[in-house]
Amino acid sequence: MDETALIQTAQHGDLDSFNTLILHYQDMVFHTALRILGDEDLAADASQDAFISAFRSINSFRGGSFKAWLMRTVTNACYDELRRRKRRPTTQLEPDTADGEEMDSPRWLADPSMTPAEKSEADELEHAIQHCLDALPTEFRTVVVLADIQGMDYSEVATAVHVPLGTIKSRLARARLRLRECLRSFEELLPSSFRLEGERNL
């Protein structure tokens, strides 16, 4: 995929070129939105809004990292969604189990490449991490999602959230410390392969 050529044709209004870019980035965009928002439906809405917004403002892209530019649109869409949710809080429709835990997502369990034990472990890990991510302030969460989950470098994250590099470093360090503290309380719940002690050998 020649990304630069696709961007240029998209800038001339070619929707098909932009749709090719969407197909390439949509998983990453959705995953980012999901980790920031913590809700699948909201993340899907935010992703769609982000792509619409990105197409409309594609001419404002002046080169550099397209991924960082796109992530900026995504984080803006997520912030909008969070503001909307703040104004109109919703109740979760997903049923809880008898002990108050959320039921496992059927979509997650349906993944054919994993054994039931692995699915259970991965699900527990995901819930624990998402819980800790949700406990972070939004600006910390966004930075840690982009840097540690999406693997973007500092300058890309700075472009995406539109703050100086020094702020990114500071927010990332704080977010990692808070996450570490939060995950410590989930240590017993985490599957053995994800125990924090095991990570020391990474």
Binding site: G13, L15, F18, N19, I22, L23, Q26, D27, V29, F30, H31, L34, R35, E40, A44, S47, Q48, F51, I52, F55, R56, R107, A122, L125, E126, I129, V144, A147, D148, I149, G151, D153, Y154, K169, S170, L172, A173, R174, R176, L177, L179, R180, L183, F194, L196, E199, R200, L202
Partner: protein, 241 residues
């Protein structure tokens, strides 16, 4: 206990964001400070867990349709031509209405003068109670009114004053004369002639404006162009979608 500056530096070191000299300094501190080494492990573990987090795939495709982004179909050149002719015909049509209305408006503004003159001459200038008229008719008072300015003219000072002066003068003179004078009919004739002349002038002016057939023509051109432009636009949209 490490301060936050150390933590921030460790985090940057973990991501390889420090310069070689800074990295060397951090490494030497890590080897000599167990507390700092423990904090570094915490950061590394947190990052490791996040990196191991399973990536979720998009539940559906987010590809965009033209409708979603509000794109309009490319329209042929003929569309612009017909759209312009619609606008131009409409403008001309409005202009013809304006041109037709103009003489009427200008004459309407000039019209009160002869009417007032007429009323003045006939003696009806006094709209509210001419006072002391008694049983005499307006026609009876008229000659006195027309004569009055001749008598009273030197004493007139304002624009409104003549009406009252004339009213009293006409009433007085009517009382003095007692009977209608024979000049009434002879004085009324030139007035009515001037009114007729004015009306004829107005009629002539009315006939000089843009003919109705032109207006109808412009209307037809405007409507036909609009319909054609609409059809072109609709066909383009159908083809596009």
């Amino acid at each position: 206990m490490n301060n936050f500056r150390d933590i921030e530096q460790l985090s940057s070191y973990l991501d390889g964001q420090l310069s070689p000299s800074e990295s060397e300094r951090v490494e030497s501190r890590l080897s000599s400070d167990p507390e700092l080494a423990s904090a570094f492990d915490d950061l590394r573990i947190a990052r490791g867990i996040l990196r191991k987090m399973p990536a979720r795939k998009a539940p559906r495709n987010f590809t965009l349709t033209r409708k979603m982004v509000g794109l309009k179909p490319p329209l042929p050149r003929a569309y612009s031509v017909f759209r312009f002719s619609t606008a131009f015909a409409t403008f001309l049509l409005m202009l013809t209405f304006a041109v037709n209305a103009l003489p009427r408006l200008s004459f309407g503004a000039a019209a009160p003068a002869p009417v007032a003159q007429e009323a003045y001459g006939v003696g009806g200038g006094c709209t509210t109670g001419c006072g002391g008229g008694g049983p005499e008719s307006a026609a009876t008072e008229a000659p006195a009114a027309t004569e009055a300015p001749v008598v009273e003219a030197p004493s007139l000072e304002g624009a409104i004053a003549p009406t009252e002066t004339l009213s009293t003068a006409s009433a007085d003179s009517a009382r003095e004369v007692g009977t209608p004078t024979p000049e009434v009919s002879t004085l009324k004739e030139p007035e009515s002639e001037s009114v007729l002349q004015n009306q004829a002038q107005v009629h002539a002016e009315r006939e000089a404006v843009v003919p109705v057939i032109w207006q109808i023509g412009l209307l037809v051109v405007g409507l036909v162009s609009a319909v054609i432009a609409f059809m072109i636009s609709r066909n383009a949209r159908k083809k596009w979608s």
